[in-house]
């Protein structure tokens, strides 16, 4: 069976030969036409289109974008801010960087349309500290758009003004959490805020109502403004509309980014047909479907239950390969679509060592505010690092799991879940490996890849 063709709406021009990131190239390809049309429409109409489209946020949580806009407090009399969350830091995710590097004007157009729809006068692009190149490109692109009157005062003679500022983060994963991002943007440590009362839609940046949207989400808004919410909602499956970009990394023949209508392909199609399957002589062992914090899936397991198809409840019995790649299906089988970072591991990977790597990352990135996450993430790292580099004990797997169980649901932000889900799922699904690691370790080849 030939691999299904991609349906690129966001990544239309990514890696297109001859396509450059300057405004002339963007204008040649029909750029800013959507903005010109949009500013002649009523803002409420644009919000309605987004609501109709069913667009779900692409940052990881999959929260409906129209609902998020609907929650904004518009009666307070305070200015409304829009923040573009470009702090793409989830391991395994690399979609936003492509957009910013290769097609920055798409993001700027989407941002201005969203600002116009929500009566936002100031927008910030909070870009990850480790992406200096992206920040430079965006600065240049904003200057170009400003020169053409797409950004800045009195946009296209409509009387509507909006400025976009680029703000570089200082290099912390937690700055991608929306309230942590807001604290960081205000110049403080990125300690996420407690909700209630600090819901960004009411008390966000500088205690004003604030919308925080992912880079890709805003590009989808541009598409929706062009084609209408109705048309957009026909892409993908009900409840999971539009396209999804999958960033496939790890042990496949052709890793990379792939854009498909949500829910129309399965994990098996993505990995085997599109990415060319496992490396020669290897077999798939596990896959993390939505960035490293998503729960791991083990090849060979079965997922059974009932799901809604139209009005009916239908039984399903899936292997990993059969799972449709959309938010709801992945959530149903106990993982998540997250940010679309698909991390593939084949039979050469030792799961204890893979987890040690993930734990090292999360313990390094915990902001240190809440006790369970702060102490738990480092403890898990210390245990898994000791297993790999020092003495492993047969009971360490159970201890790790028990430590991880004390974290999720007990912290201010979702980092508690992000740091504990990998450990929980690795140990549930690969318990044998963890229990036997103390023995296996003695027989590992001396010339294997040295772990950090």
């Amino acid at each position: 069976m030939p691999a299904p063709a991609q349906h690129r709406i966001i990544f239309k021009h990514i890696d297109e030969p001859g396509y450059t990131n300057d405004i002339d190239c963007y204008l040649r390809n029909g750029g800013y036409e959507v903005l010109k049309k949009s500013v002649t429409r009523k803002p409420e109409e644009l919000i309605d289109e987004v609501k109709k489209s069913g667009l779900r946020g692409r940052g990881g949580a999959g929260f409906p974008c129209g609902v998020k806009w609907g929650l904004v407090d518009r009666k307070s009399g305070k200015p409304i801010y829009l923040i573009v969350n470009a702090d793409e830091s989830e391991p395994g995710t690399f979609k936003d960087r492509y957009i910013m590097h290769q097609d920055p004007h798409q993001l700027i157009e989407g941002t201005i349309i969203s600002c116009f729809a929500n009566n936002v006068k100031q927008a910030y692009i909070y870009i990850r500290g480790e992406m200096p190149e992206g920040a430079r490109i965006l600065e240049k692109a904003i200057a170009e758009a400003r020169a053409k009157n797409f950004v800045g005062p009195n946009i296209l003679g409509t009387g509507y003004s909006c400025e976009i500022y680029v703000h570089r983060g200082a290099g912390a994963y937690i700055c991608g959490e929306e309230t942590g991002l807001i604290e960081s943007l205000e110049g403080k440590r990125a300690n996420p805020r407690i909700k209630p009362p600090y819901f960004p839609a009411v008390l966000g940046l500088y205690q004003c109502p604030t919308i925080v949207n992912n880079v890709e989400t805003l590009c989808h808004v541009r598409y929706i403004a062009e084609h209408g919410g109705e048309a957009y909602s026909k892409i993908g499956t009900p409840g999971n509309t539009g396209t999804r970009i999958f960033c496939v990394s790890g042990h496949v023949q052709r890793p990379g980014y792939y854009e498909f209508p949500a829910g129309t392909i399965t994990m098996g199609v993505l990995l085997n047909d599109i990415c060319g399957g496992p490396l020669p002589g290897r077999t798939f062992k596990a896959v993390i479907p939505g960035g490293s914090s998503a729960k791991v899936l083990r090849f060979g397991e079965r997922y059974k239950g009932k799901r809604k198809v139209g009005p009916d409840m239908v039984d399903y019995d899936w292997g990993v390969e059969d799972v449709p790649m959309d938010f709801d299906s992945l959530a149903m089988i106990g993982s998540m679509g997250g940010s679309g970072g698909v991390i593939v591991m084949d039979d050469t990977v030792n799961m204890v060592e893979a987890l040690a790597n993930i734990n090292a990352f999360y313990s390094h990135e915990s902001c240190g505010q809440c006790t369970p996450c702060r102490e738990g993430s480092l403890w898990m790292k210390k245990i898994s690092a000791r297993m790999v580099h020092g003495e492993a004990r047969p009971q360490d797997g159970a201890l790790l799991k028990s430590v991880a169980d004390q974290i999720p649901g007990r912290t201010i932000c979702a980092f508690g879940e992000a740091c504990s889900w990998p450990t929980q799922s690795f140990i549930i699904k690969f318990k044998d490996e963890f229990d036997a690691y103390s023995e296996v370790k003695k027989t590992l080849p001396a010339d294997r890849t040295v772990l950090v």
């Binding site: 440590r189 407690i194 390094h364 240190g368 505010q369 702060r374 000791r386 649901g409 912290t411 201010i412």
Partner: protein, 562 residues
């Protein structure tokens, strides 16, 4: 007495007990009202809620209603409205009560959450309680015992952090003991208005420190020690001096200014080791300036006045001076004396036919807990009728009367007349009878010196700037060779020909109450520990020196001053 307005009440159910609490109360405070302890570290009733320690996790639910009809959903098993319990634990500090809120603090979910947080807090804690000053008053110790598992599963290396950082002149920090609750940071920033503390580094390696080139040297720095739930911040003065469980606690009032900060004096075997604030929501909340905490050092000062002669002999000497200069005597009372002492001072002045003066002691207010009036009890002198006008900067009138020869004897009560504007030449012209605690130029020049006691060695009351009468108790026994001020004053009054008066606070109060309109219905023992607000209207026309401080706004200037 002014009653607070009745707040809106909200009925909540905590562990099966129904209670009506004021709107806006959080779950920790509501639970306190039904004697349910919700353990916590970062939450402090007087600081902003940050909800980061996660120790106060509780199970919470709301009565179920039918989403369509809004009708209550009943539980057939109990016959009561069904409760929708939230599947995740919630923080008690950040949850304000709402009508019908149900809270469980003892469910398996809560127990598990607390055990988890306790275990996490202890894994990188040095567990050095045997050498830690906080031991005995440490929340980590108490809550580990109350809510922890009692054993450790941690076999890794603990984090290493700085052990003895001098954050400022009075505060020492042990970072390894710190649980990162951020109370001290919030206190410095929000209450003391000196943003000097913060965390550096991330995650479990987060370390409390001062901002670059800053020191924790503001006059409220020791409050960070008080609110530190663990032994991370310790008082450099008190460190390694005494185990807290050996110390006796005595309620007292700080004499630093007319704010009347409520305090606790910690002593053992007659020696004071430290002073800490005592909560009074109407006066000082839970705070106290550093400068007020070192006042106890005056008790054991080498300058203390002691008498070799008996009190009778000293009083007899004073009596003979009174006799020779009858009709030419003046009394300088003190705004640092208690209400009872001022009452007796008034009696003494009356018996001597003398005019009573008071010495003004003013400084800069700090807008928080030090007011511009550095006398703790000027209003006591007004209430008892010792004076009727506010004291002037210098004793000008007395000075003139000495020069003119009208006054030949001055009874000075714990006031240095030289510091109050008289000259050495003037003192040489007159006879001084001095009652006081410490040696000074006046005591040296005095004909008779009657040594008295410091505030820590006696009991009494002060009236603060709000006209709140507050009582203090005796913390340590009086110095040998010094006498209780009341004993001395009552003996002097008798020697001056006045009526015999009780010389103990308890027996003196009925007399004070009968003769003082503002205190008419009171007795010393009936004054609550947080004081009683007096009716200040008789003195509304006076322009007091105090500016705004915590819980105090000066009355609008009266038109008369125009």
């Amino acid at each position: 007495m002014i009653q607070p307005a009745k707040p809106d009440l909200v009925t909540v159910n905590i562990d099966g007990k129904e209670i009506a609490v004021p709107k806006g109360t959080n779950v920790i405070e509501a639970a306190r009202l039904v004697n349910v302890d919700v353990p916590h570290y970062c939450y402090h009733p007087k600081l902003a809620v940050v909800g980061n320690c996660r120790m106060c996790l509780i199970e919470m639910g709301m009565p179920a209603v039918d989403p369509a009809t809004k009708a209550p959903v009943m539980d057939p098993a109990t016959g009561k409205q069904k409760i929708n319990w939230i599947p995740r634990p919630q923080i008690g500090c950040g949850t304000t009560v709402s009508p019908g809120l149900h809270v469980k603090t003892t469910s398996p979910m809560v127990k598990d959450a607390r055990e988890g947080v306790m275990e996490f807090l202890l894994i990188n804690h040095p567990l050095d309680c045997p050498i830690c000053d906080q031991a005995g008053e440490c929340k980590l110790q108490e809550q580990a015992t109350g809510y922890g598992r009692g054993y450790s599963r941690f076999i890794e290396q603990k984090n290493v952090k700085p052990k003895r950082t001098q954050l400022g002149p009075r505060v020492t920090l042990d970072d390894e003991r710190c649980v990162l609750c951020s109370r001290c940071i919030r206190f410095s920033k929000d209450i003391a208005k000196e943003d000097v503390l913060g965390f550096v580094d991330r995650g479990s390696y987060s370390t409390l420190t001062c901002h670059p080139d800053r020191k924790l040297d503001h006059n409220y720095s020791l409050n960070t020690v008080d609110i530190c739930p663990v032994g991370a911040l310790t008082s450099t003065d008190f460190r390694f001096k005494m185990r807290v469980w050996f110390l006796k606690q005595t309620n007292s009032i700080c004499t630093e200014s007319s704010v009347g900060v409520n305090s606790v004096v910690w002593s053992r075997e007659g020696v004071i080791y430290r002073i800490t604030p005592r909560r009074n929501d109407e006066v000082n909340d839970t705070w106290m300036p550093d400068s007020g905490r070192i006042l106890y050092k005056q008790v054991q000062s080498a300058e203390r006045l002691k008498a070799v002669e008996s009190l009778e002999a000293l009083v007899a000497k004073a009596a003979s001076i009174f006799k020779t200069s009858a009709g030419a005597i003046s009394v300088v009372g003190s705004g640092r004396s208690s209400v009872e002492e001022q009452f007796l001072t008034k009696k003494l002045a009356a018996a001597l036919g003398a005019q009573a003066h008071l010495v003004k002691r003013a400084g800069e207010g700090d807008k928080l807990l030090i007011s511009a009036d550095r006398n703790p009890n000027v209003r006591g002198a007004l209430v008892t009728g010792l004076i009727s006008q506010l004291p002037c900067a210098e004793l000008k009138q007395l000075s003139g009367e000495i020069d003119s020869g009208k006054v030949k004897t001055v009874v000075a009560i714990n006031e240095d007349l030289l510091a109050a504007g008289l000259t050495a030449a003037q003192l040489a012209k007159i006879s001084v009878v001095y009652l006081g605690t410490h040696a000074n130029a006046t005591s040296l020049a005095a004909k008779v010196v009657l040594p008295t006691l410091t505030v820590f060695e006696k009991a009494g009351t002060f009236v603060n700037q709000q006209f709140r009468i507050q009582k203090f108790a005796q913390a340590v026994p009086g110095l040998t060779g010094a006498h209780n001020d009341l004993t001395v004053l009552s003996a002097l009054t008798a020697a001056a020909g006045g009526a015999a008066l009780p010389s103990e606070v308890g027996t003196l109060w009925p007399v004070i109450a009968t003769e003082t309109p503002a205190l008419a219905t009171m007795l010393y023992k009936n004054i609550p520990e947080t004081g009683l607000l007096l009716d200040a209207t008789p003195w509304a026309g006076l322009s007091f020196v105090e500016g705004e401080t915590l819980h105090f706004k000066p009355a609008a200037p009266v038109a008369a001053t125009v």
